[in-house]
Symmetry: C2
Subunit: 428 residues, 2 copies
Amino acid sequence: MSSSTALLTDQYELTMLASALRDGTAHRECTFEVFTRRLPHGRRYGVTGGIGRVLEAIENFHFGEAEIAQLADNEVVDDRTIEWLRDFRFSGQVDGYPEGELFFPGSPLLTVRGTFAEAVVLETLVLSILNHDSAIASAAARMVSAANGRRIIEMGSRRTHEESAVSSARAAYLAGFTATSNLEAGRRYGIPTAGTAAHAFTLLHDSERSAFESQVAALGTGTTLLVDTYDISNGIQLAVEVAGPDLGAVRIDSGDVGVLARQAREQLDDLGATGTRIVVSGDLDEYAIASLRAEPVDGYGVGTSLVTGSGAPTAEMVYKLVEVEDRPVAKRSSHKESRGGRKAAIRRYKKTGTAVEEVVFRPDSAAELGPHDRFLQIPLIRDGKRVEGLPTLEQDRQRLRHALVTLPWEGLKLSHGEQAIPTTFLQS
Amino acid sequence: MSSSTALLTDQYELTMLASALRDGTAHRECTFEVFTRRLPHGRRYGVTGGIGRVLEAIENFHFGEAEIAQLADNEVVDDRTIEWLRDFRFSGQVDGYPEGELFFPGSPLLTVRGTFAEAVVLETLVLSILNHDSAIASAAARMVSAANGRRIIEMGSRRTHEESAVSSARAAYLAGFTATSNLEAGRRYGIPTAGTAAHAFTLLHDSERSAFESQVAALGTGTTLLVDTYDISNGIQLAVEVAGPDLGAVRIDSGDVGVLARQAREQLDDLGATGTRIVVSGDLDEYAIASLRAEPVDGYGVGTSLVTGSGAPTAEMVYKLVEVEDRPVAKRSSHKESRGGRKAAIRRYKKTGTAVEEVVFRPDSAAELGPHDRFLQIPLIRDGKRVEGLPTLEQDRQRLRHALVTLPWEGLKLSHGEQAIPTTFLQS
């Protein structure tokens, strides 16, 4: 990662800045809001991901000599703007939904307050992070629901950009995945890593037996042997011969994994390997995972569908100017209209803990907080500094686990439908 | 970017390494091949992207003290493997399709030869880069075709991971996009950058007029004014009043852009601004671009659909062991079968220059090279070092531009269909 995140930005943020510095409007106090206009087709909820990465990116958002030189050499902006950027540190306020929170269209996910200048330059980077990480977290949460308590490992690094891979592993873990194959995610975020062998390892050896013997010698009998390089039934037989009945697991990566898992379970049990787990992988998505619920599968490996957001690779969030010096503003030429003015949000619950609705309102209006309701935004940055004691990734992971339990049961269905709870927009 | 790319890797690459070092097979000479089993649904060709990034990543693939410590502390691999990794530099051979080349299912896109140890550890990173960049380049090429010579600007940074954004800008430029909004792509790859203002800039000001006046004062009359914040017709009137008939361009970001472009052209011409260009943006993909071909549009801004690969966010390439010490190997349990053995490829052309077929064959077999045929792979790395004089990004850009012209006309159709030219697999 670049130590400075400042050039991960659309040029127009800086040309707007240049014009606004010139006419003085750059110093107007503004509020920008991040929200999404819709959920991906048929999805019932979204999950916030990337908030922690956003806070870190804002802290690292400053223009060093290298960045300044790039802008000056290419005459992207004028000298006045260069001078302003040289000293830039965000000094404003940020509030938002924590990570691992459910969201719906119109939820005020992040509220950035500061001068126009300091808030506008953050737009691209904030959206890049939230759109990516929330897309992955939202898809991942559905997969975790479908896995219904079974282990689920993220292994999609090879199917996405090498840095998206690291962030995808983080978002998947947030959403309840057990581990990741990605070593950099292990290093950067302390996420448990997993992985043993691919088909290449078997093909490298003179026989499947010698490959299994080698792996067991190196990694122990608790390892996972990949049994579908040649014939699965032979592979399983051989695996137990080599490792004994204490073999940790077998992995099946191809074919009709439901049928194969049943056959594998029977065969393993017959061989006395009753404790040997069965892990399946290979083009699984939330629907495939759900369809395996009745099969004797102990764990899932999920790749492509996770890192591509299972059909929705971006959360399509936008970062919109909603207030200028306490005056609500909004574009109004088309269907892309926004609601002007800063918003707050609460989620209402029944006494039983089931979520009932989300209420979005102007902070100065009169939304009554019931005994079981709660505010959804928390303070994230104050005067440019991260608020102390923000939730950890583990806490955010627990938050989501809990939040999903609060949804009405139909909100967790994988099929296309309405959003899990309705959103009410109160007019001020 | 991390200076070391070595942990952008799946754990199992290293556990396989550990087992293979222990049993001695790690030193067997191997060939791995990158190919894709299919094109995205209905696509007629793919475009290689990311080869240059792969070569750089391989050069930076070494384990520094920080990476070694991470592996040791977490007991990912044993001491022997740690010692081996400490000295690791790839010392093998890489051949492949250059960037900006067309490809089809089964094309041997990259061939990595070396010991099992040194070739297997590159798998994840090589695939991450190629799968991402080729997905973007493939989608981008269709958009450039659809734009039919008109300017097309990449502006999707906010809808994808912040580092994917930079690589997406690169892949789009490779495929013929004119410029990018992403400043880091400008710095890292020398790609032209573009951008002027968003709706927020207009909303910030007390009136649309004062926003336009400010922008023109700062950026000159050659700038692009965004005219759809309030009423488009008023916006255009005002834009020409403020900037005069020499206004560079107006941008329309919402609504039925075809109809609006026609009205805008008429209005601009009536106002004497006959040279003012019309740029459209807002959820454009290759189909929307094509549908605007008859409209007076001078340029396109493309965001989400570009960075998400327009429905195909990954190229689904795989990295398969195909030869161990000159012995062809292949998995054979299922439909995921691969063709064993190292492959070469030529593309055959008519005398007129039209491509006819791609031929994939074992290098020791007898594929005859006709007078208009050419080999598709070029040497990329020799004994661990990048071959000198490899094509530049600009040259690769020209390569693609030329390659698309050689396709039979139906190969460029946007509609779903067969691959543009057939691939023949010769048996050795």
